[in-house]
Amino acid sequence: MGKTVLTGKHFWYGNIAIAEGAIAAGCRFFAGYPITPASEIAEHISRRFPQIGGIFVQFEDELASMAAILGASWTGVKSMTSTSGPGFSLMQENIGLGAMMEVPTVIVNTQRGGPSTGLPTLTGQGDVMQAKWGSHGQYEIIALSPDSPQEAFDLTIRCFNLAEKYRVPVILLASETIAHSAGKVVVPPEDEIELVYRKKPKVPPEEYLPYRPDEDLVPPMACAGEGYTITTTGLTHNEKGYPDTTAEAQEKLARRLNDKIRKHRKDIVDVKEENMEDAKIAVVSYGQVSRPAKRAVKMAREEGIKAGSIKLITIWPFAEHVIHKWAKQVEYFIVPELNYGQIYLEVKREADGNAQTILIPRMGGTLFTPREIYQEIKKVNKK
């Protein structure tokens, strides 16, 4: 058997770090379809899984890949797929099924420019709202966004942990920038990596109801072949898992599916705040934009401007309480995004008139330079 956790210091592309993060998290089922700029994740896993005993399948499309990782997860095996915009669009139907059936699984979206085929080889952040609202109906999902290969490794593990904890598909919103840049990744010893596993039923099969939640709103999960004779469906269902297509059943189920995420917002949300103590201008950024944003704030500080940075590591659920808190202190939020304003609107909503929110939009393709963001800070500072 090959080594599963490659403890040590590495120089990895983001895509490799994601694949190794998944392996370290215990993922042993991968289904996917080739797409730029995500393919290296599948390629790396196809090379590594035979060494460590995982199942790799290159499917006929992303529809099948997404369906297969749900099926695999129903046996108790941690599963994952990776894709980019066009494939992510195709996966939406079964991301919805995953939310409805409450299946722990991880979807990596290495974002490129869109819409449609768009910019296959260049970066973007246009899929942020799609990650939240991509499938139909009212549901909540979790999404994290890394800004470096190291974070890509760490956050992939966290994606699996959150998926298992809350029985929900979790999305890693990566990007071409991270996928195709290499950097130092330190992999800790195996026993220092904290792994979470889904709750199993504590009652015998005759007393088990597959969709009766515990107090945390998450139901323990019996898997296929364990003697619990589970039944599950994408239809609105009752605690037995039987279809119950009534308004009452829908109210109960859909509300819980949302609340199990919303009520744990503070557990799920992770942000990194720097220079915020006395900040009057806060740059709110995420993913690949966080690094130039951080440097821009540094440049502003050197000029004596009271700037700070809030880096969103968790994108969904949104860090409402964080923005809400800082809105009382800062005068401006500046949101540089590789889109025409997606997280900007969330920030503005939470600022709720207490601070002004300014968007620095870019449609994708290239990343902001630190200077571009710095100049915006300077401009705002003069107001």
Binding site: H10, K184, P292
Partner: protein, 187 residues
């Protein structure tokens, strides 16, 4: 203002010359073997062979907060196309290392510090044109203080197939030697 510790190098040439690999080996040398911070970025297009391409490596003592090249101090040029296309990106007064077997320089090069290394010819003499980039890496490790010769050597070793290890190491040492000579000449 704090002393800038950020260092940047750009490898340029045409697809298939190992320009990306050279960047990777350099970045890995800095991050893994010299225990600094480093980032490799590259142009990434649908073309696999023949077109002008580059990779960029940033090396720093501290966390790198912008991963693309801002102003490279060193540029390795391995094709005429790359010379035409990328030379203006080099920081004024920066170091340009050309593969003199493939690149003819003109007066534009005067504002930089120029080194000529006939990497491709040397590689061909050793029997494998493909290792021209390794000759360059040896040279770079000697004349650029962002990475150590030892770190670069280890990094080269980790990236080449075992059966070609000797050849690659010979190519590398040749580059180091040429770097040594170039520096000695300047003294």
């Amino acid at each position: 203002m704090k002393q800038e510790t950020r260092k940047e190098i750009m490898f340029t040439g045409f697809g298939g010359q190992g320009v990306i690999t050279a960047g990777y080996i350099t970045g890995q040398a800095a991050a893994v073997y010299d225990d600094k911070e480093s980032v490799l970025t590259q142009v990434y297009g649908p073309e696999a062979r023949g077109s002008a391409c580059y990779s960029g490596v940033v090396v720093d003592e501290e966390e790198i907060d912008y991963l693309y090249l801002l102003s490279p101090q060193v540029m390795v040029v391995m094709s005429q196309d790359a010379y035409e296309k990328f030379l203006p990106k080099l920081q004024e007064g920066g170091v340009v290392i050309v593969d003199s077997s493939l690149v003819e320089v003109d007066e534009r090069v005067k504002k930089y510090r120029l080194y000529k290394v006939s990497a491709t010819e040397i590689a061909e003499e050793m029997g494998a044109r493909i290792i021209a980039n390794v000759v360059m890496l040896g040279f770079v490790s000697r004349i650029w203080d962002a990475v150590s010769v030892e770190g670069m050597r280890e990094s080269v070793k980790s990236r080449v197939p075992r059966k070609h290890l000797d050849l690659n190491i010979r190519a590398f040492e040749k580059g180091v030697e040429l770097g040594e000579k170039a520096l000695a000449k300047e003294c």
